[in-house]
């Protein structure tokens, strides 16, 4: 069976593997590189759980062949913050605003949101919802995800402000900017 040499920079690390051409990018990431943070959801390019950033653009890695990502730069959820390092702004936003329940869609959701904020650092609620059309969440009803993205937009360094009063919960402004 013929294989193809796939070299790619994944989360800043140069990786080279012999890959069967039919291997999907999501399986390359999960099974060959053991980066299991990227999830397989619907496996039909509907749900967005497998979203990663490929050369700066959010893509659904269940619908990209690993060979199509040769010589590309790939960022997965593991690439946003190393263990022990502070969360990225979007990760911290999901943490602060409780942008998840079961967490299955979350890696894809966070990657799609990261790509959105890279292009549009201060999106309105409408823009956030439009940008997340390709990511399904069956738990949250999306409102807390939108709040999470707004939190990240309002705190681009991802730093949680010190609470002026420990009894007052820190919240972003609901739907601010829309």
């Amino acid at each position: 069976m013929s294989t193809v040499s796939v070299s790619a920079t994944v989360n800043g690390v140069q990786r080279t593997n012999e890959v069967e051409p039919r291997v999907l990018l999501v399986h390359y990431l999960r099974d060959m590189l053991r980066l299991t943070g990227t999830h397989v959801g619907c496996d039909t390019s509907n749900c967005g759980a497998c979203t990663v950033i490929l050369d700066g653009a959010a893509v659904k890695s269940c619908t990209v062949l690993a060979v199509q990502a040769r010589n590309s730069e790939i960022t997965t959820i593991e690439g946003l913050a190393a263990p022990g390092e502070p969360f990225s702004a979007v990760q911290q936003g999901f943490h602060q605003e409780h942008g998840l329940q079961c967490g299955y869609c979350t890696p894809g959701m966070i990657m799609a949101c990261t790509a959105l904020l890279a292009e549009n650092p201060d999106p309105t609620e409408h823009e956030i919802r439009h940008a997340l059309e390709g990511n399904l969440c069956r738990c949250t009803g999306y409102q807390m995800i939108v709040n999470s993205v707004r939190w990240a937009a309002e705190h681009p360094d991802g730093v949680v402000p010190a609470r002026p009063d420990a009894t007052t919960p820190v919240r972003s402004t609901l739907g601010a900017g829309s």
Binding site: R22, T44, S45, A57, V59, T63, L65, V67, Q68
Partner: protein, 274 residues
């Protein structure tokens, strides 16, 4: 779901791609892969060889050519959506490209791939029909130009033959800039249950999504539009020649209702007055 095994070859030019096909026979060209890869995952197609043309920069462009705008077949939906030249000159195309799938799909899918797939439920084929585009097909014998209305031959079948590539799509400029696209679906990312593309101006056109086995150019309605007929007459004419089907989304009757209603709305949105 994993595709059946295949050999992977990367083409370095259009000529190289065509030569590779001639050499290998049972092959498919791979562009963005957002129609082909899902088909392969479902094992609806299992080519022995994939010839990757996805990185041919020579096929990715949006050029002003005076009386028309030429779009390279590998131009991604996202690039169409973001093009200021298209927004100014061929606004319907830029808008419709932004209605395809979702942002991730638009980051990968290409206009040529969508057109060659020929899905009657897809957005861009209908836009190319309403805009009366011309398709440039390149093969071993050279290039030929096929009008959009002759391009969509049958269900998932186009005028592009074995070993040929759609390389460029030409959109004639309009004196009028008024147009509208009305898409009816249940979820933001879904294919249309029915959609209607309307372009006004010189040589206007109306095309329908999902009203038969191929993307459909509404001949009678387009003629009525060109003749300045009342909007109600155009909407009545829009079903002529359609062959909508029943499926889990809608009955034929419901689709026909949608086609009439969406045509009426599109004409109003485009500011059409007879």
């Amino acid at each position: 779901m994993i595709p059946a095994s295949f050999d992977y070859l990367e083409a370095s030019s259009v000529d190289h791609a065509i030569a590779l096909f001639a050499e290998h026979g049972d092959a498919k060209f791979l562009a963005g892969g957002h129609s082909l890869v899902p088909m392969m995952k479902l094992r609806l197609v299992s080519p022995s060889v994939l010839i990757d043309i996805g990185r041919l920069a020579e096929l990715s462009y949006i050029d002003d050519r005076g009386d028309h705008v030429a779009v390279g077949a590998l131009t991604r939906h996202r690039e169409l959506e973001d093009s200021s030249l298209l927004a100014e000159q061929i606004g319907l195309l830029a808008h419709v490209a932004g209605q395809v799938g979702d942002p991730q799909v638009r980051n990968r899918g290409t206009i040529g791939g969508s057109l060659v797939h020929g899905d009657p439920a897809a957005d861009l084929p209908a836009a190319s029909l309403a805009l009366r585009a011309s398709m440039v097909i390149t093969g071993a014998a050279g290039q030929r130009v096929v009008p959009a209305v002759d391009f969509f031959v049958n269900f998932l079948e186009t005028a592009v033959g074995d070993g040929e590539l759609l390389t460029e799509i030409r959109f004639p400029k309009r004196t009028g800039t008024r147009w509208a696209y009305q898409k009816f679906n249940r979820r933001a990312m879904d294919y249309a249950i029915v959609a209607v593309a309307v372009q006004l101006g010189d040589n206007p056109g109306i095309a329908l999504v999902n009203m038969g086995p191929t993307p459909h150019f509404a001949v009678a309605a387009s003629a009525a539009l060109a003749a300045g007929a009342p909007a109600s007459k155009i909407a009545d004419a829009v079903l002529e020649g359609t062959g909508a089907w029943d499926d889990s989304n809608a009955t034929r009757e419901y689709r026909e209702h949608l086609a009439r209603e969406l045509t009426t709305r599109a004409l109003a949105k485009a500011g059409y007055t007879s």
